[in-house]
């Protein structure tokens, strides 16, 4: 534990950063930047959430109540874009900034100033995206997938959206390069790749995915842009192009993208569960290989998003079987988590509640994904609420719950205070209950044929939709408890020990005090 003393000693003569606002604008410190990422993503989470509640209000009753259909389309599209590119992805980059250097015993990220730039591009992109609500024709209304020809035809809101995606994509690529370089070049001596914490492994693989597919998205939206303004015909059938090609290129990005949003979540869960089971992670190397397999398979399954657009039967079978194959490494992970808990000395503090809840509810989403992967069934439920239920089970109960688990887990290390356990438990249970009341009935609605992205619906769907809207508001309001718990933890509370969780064994717990000093691991620790 002598390194703890070292860390504190170094803190003294390194604390020379500007105070106030300029500290945050000019910071190159990985912890500051991590904090910025997390607050940015929380603001985006609330923004996207308000849009979701806006569209749920319209769907409270059948018939047209509040919005015209054009605005409803903008709400659904912007909700998706903001949650994916503004909330979930930056939140994980925030975790990476805080945790990767500390977990591998590095003093900071490899490119500190690039890191600052990566973050500050995000508010610019987000402002462009949100400001598209105020231009003629309104915001992006072509769905978060911005399919051509909708995206090649709509008003200037789409141009703002495309620029925003370019900027946020550039931010992601720079962030990923930074993370890969940090992990590959700056691990503490003795930490071989196969000794890295699982969270670091999942982020290494995620960062490679980002570098591989974000440029493909950039290419696709650049083609949309030139089709719109420079007379090209990539997606314009009249000029010899093909709108279906947009879907292929988009989903070549889009499917790895959904793993980009879940692999770091797997990493967090693989960190939290061993800590609260007080056992090492079961099957560490199989976890690494499973993560890598999921990432590789993600490149050859994209067309399962578009079975109904028309493709040869052989192609449908290929994409169907390849998709089902992904269940194998994912199953390995779920079994490993359960095996880690098996006969462990379990305790259920808030991070563990979210992690255990994650396994349960994410598995539901995984199974509905398997059902959707089967082409003939997909023909029936394509573009219905069944799909909406599926991807909210993996994105909300998957990615978001893992983010909550990680936040409660590391808040003591970041703030130096324990969070209020009672608030955390209220947050978990209300989120869990309202989440399921919101999204579980969507399976039934989808199987019964309720189409997604439509502001009106048949009378038979009225009861479920009313319940869903009420529960959605419950879920939204529950997140205020989370905000309260975080603010309370930052401002004070029970002093957190260096090793706030007795089962936590990564470097930030064993070698650093709580709160982690502004500069840590200037002298790299030795690991066995």
């Amino acid at each position: 534990m002598s390194a703890v003393i070292d860390g504190q000693a170094h803190e003294e003569h390194h604390e020379h950063h500007p105070a106030g606002l300029m500290r945050w604008v000019t910071t190159t410190n990985h912890k500051d930047i991590g904090t910025l990422y997390l607050w940015f993503s929380f603001i985006m989470f609330i923004t996207g959430g308000i849009l979701a509640l806006g569209l749920r209000m319209e769907l409270f009753q059948p018939g047209m109540q509040l919005w015209n259909p054009e605005f409803f389309n903008q709400l659904t599209s912007m909700h998706g874009l903001i949650m994916v590119f503004g909330a979930i992805m930056p939140a994980f980059v925030g975790f990476a900034n805080w945790q990767v250097p500390m977990m591998i015993g590095a003093p900071d990220m490899a490119f500190a100033r690039l890191n600052n730039w990566s973050f500050w591009l995000l508010p610019v992109g987000a402002t462009l995206l949100v400001s598209s609500f105020f231009v003629p024709g309104g915001a992006v209304a072509a769905g978060w997938t911005i399919y051509a020809p909708l995206s090649t035809q709509m008003g200037p809101g789409m141009d703002l959206g495309i620029f925003a995606l370019h900027i946020m994509g550039a931010s992601s690529i720079m962030g990923s390069i930074n993370i890969i370089t940090t992990i590959l070049n700056m691990r503490t001596p003795g930490m071989t790749l196969m000794k890295m914490p699982m969270f670091v492994w999942t982020w290494l693989i995620t960062a490679y995915l980002l570098i591989a597919v974000i440029p493909v998205l950039a290419g696709a939206i650049t083609m949309v842009l030139t089709d719109r303004h420079f007379g090209t015909s990539f997606f314009n059938a009249a000029g010899g192009g093909d709108p279906v090609m947009f879907q292929h290129i988009f989903w070549f990005f889009g499917h790895p993208e959904v793993y980009i949003m879940i692999l770091p979540a797997f990493g967090i869960i693989s960190t939290v569960i061993p800590a609260f089971a007080r056992k090492p992670l079961f099957g560490y190397s199989s976890m690494v290989y499973a993560t890598a397999s999921i990432a590789i398979l993600s490149f050859i399954v994209w067309a399962h998003h578009m079975f109904t657009v028309g493709m040869p039967t052989a192609a449908q079978l290929f994409f169907m079987y390849a998709t089902i194959l992904i269940a194998v490494p994912t199953g390995v992970k779920v079994f490993n988590w359960i095996a880690t808990m098996w006969k462990g000395a379990l305790s259920f503090e808030t991070p563990m509640l979210f992690a255990a809840g994650f396994i349960l509810v994410f598995s539901v989403g995984g199974f509905s994904g398997l059902i959707l992967a089967i082409a003939p069934i997909d023909y029936q439920v394509q573009d219905t609420y069944y799909v909406v239920a599926h991807f909210h089970y993996v994105l909300v109960a998957g990615s978001l719950f893992a983010i909550f688990a990680g936040l409660y887990f590391w808040l003591p290390k970041w703030t130096g205070h324990m969070y209020d356990e009672k608030l955390g438990k209220w947050h978990f249970w209300l989120s869990m209950i309202f989440f399921n009341i919101t999204f579980f009935p969507m399976h039934f609605l989808g199987l019964a044929g309720m189409p997604r992205r439509i502001p009106d619906y048949a009378l038979v769907f009225a009861d479920y939709n009313a319940i869903i809207t009420i529960a959605a508001f419950g879920f939204g309001l529950s997140q205020l408890i989370f905000l309260w718990a975080v603010l309370k933890c930052i401002r004070g509370g029970e002093k957190a020990p260096a090793r706030a969780w007795e089962g936590a064994d990564t470097l930030e717990w064993t070698h650093l005090p709580s709160p982690a000093p502004y500069h840590s691991f200037h002298d790299q620790p030795d690991v066995k």
Partner: protein, 185 residues
């Protein structure tokens, strides 16, 4: 960490940064490379052959005189100031018989315009039995100001067409090819 170790790390980091940037740029190019790749796949698998002449196998050239199919010709323009019409509204055709119909198009603008015609069929599944051997829709058409052009379509209806198909509508829509301003053709 000593000074030389730091400089070494710095150099190693920059080297990796360059490599990863090249990967990112390469993947940006790959996104565009998917376009010709997609077109090749479509061509090889025959998914998208609207701009290619159909081939007719020998057994399908037997004229089935026992029945006739009424082929209706339709023409539209999409935000394009051309007049576009078939010279005949409809023809009664025996399946298997090679038939020709003429469409006439006039550019009413005072500038050259390039257009592309896109065919469609009603009923939709008849498309599979409607073989176009020659069509003005296989390439873009550039018309000088005021030019009038008569363009043939030569087609055969596959004799294996189901008996319940008594009428097929062939409809063309002319689109302006954006951005060309009559340069191509």
């Amino acid at each position: 960490m000593n000074g030389s170790g730091h400089a070494e790390l710095h150099a190693a980091n920059r080297k990796l940064l360059r490599k990863l940037l090249i990967v990112a740029l390469g993947m940006f190019g790959f996104g565009f490379a998917l376009v010709p790749f997609y077109e090749t796949i479509c061509e090889v698998t025959g998914i998208r052959n609207v701009f290619k002449p159909d081939t007719v196998s020998a057994e399908n050239t037997q004229v089935d005189t026992s029945r006739t199919v009424s082929v209706e010709f339709d023409s539209n323009t999409q935000t394009l100031a051309w007049t576009f019409k078939p010279l005949e509204g409809s023809l009664a055709v025996h399946p298997g018989a090679v038939t020709q119909v003429i469409y006439e198009v006039r550019n009413t603008l005072d500038r050259p315009v390039t257009g592309q015609a896109v065919p469609s069929y009603a009923p939709q599944y008849a498309a599979g039995y409607f073989k176009k051997l020659e069509c003005f829709c296989f390439k873009q058409q550039t018309l000088a100001p005021g030019e009038v052009r008569r363009m043939p379509v030569v087609f055969v209806i596959d004799p294996s067409v189901p008996a319940d198909v008594r009428a097929i509508t062939l409809s063309y829509t002319f689109f302006e090819v954006a951005g060309t301003r009559g340069k191509r053709g």
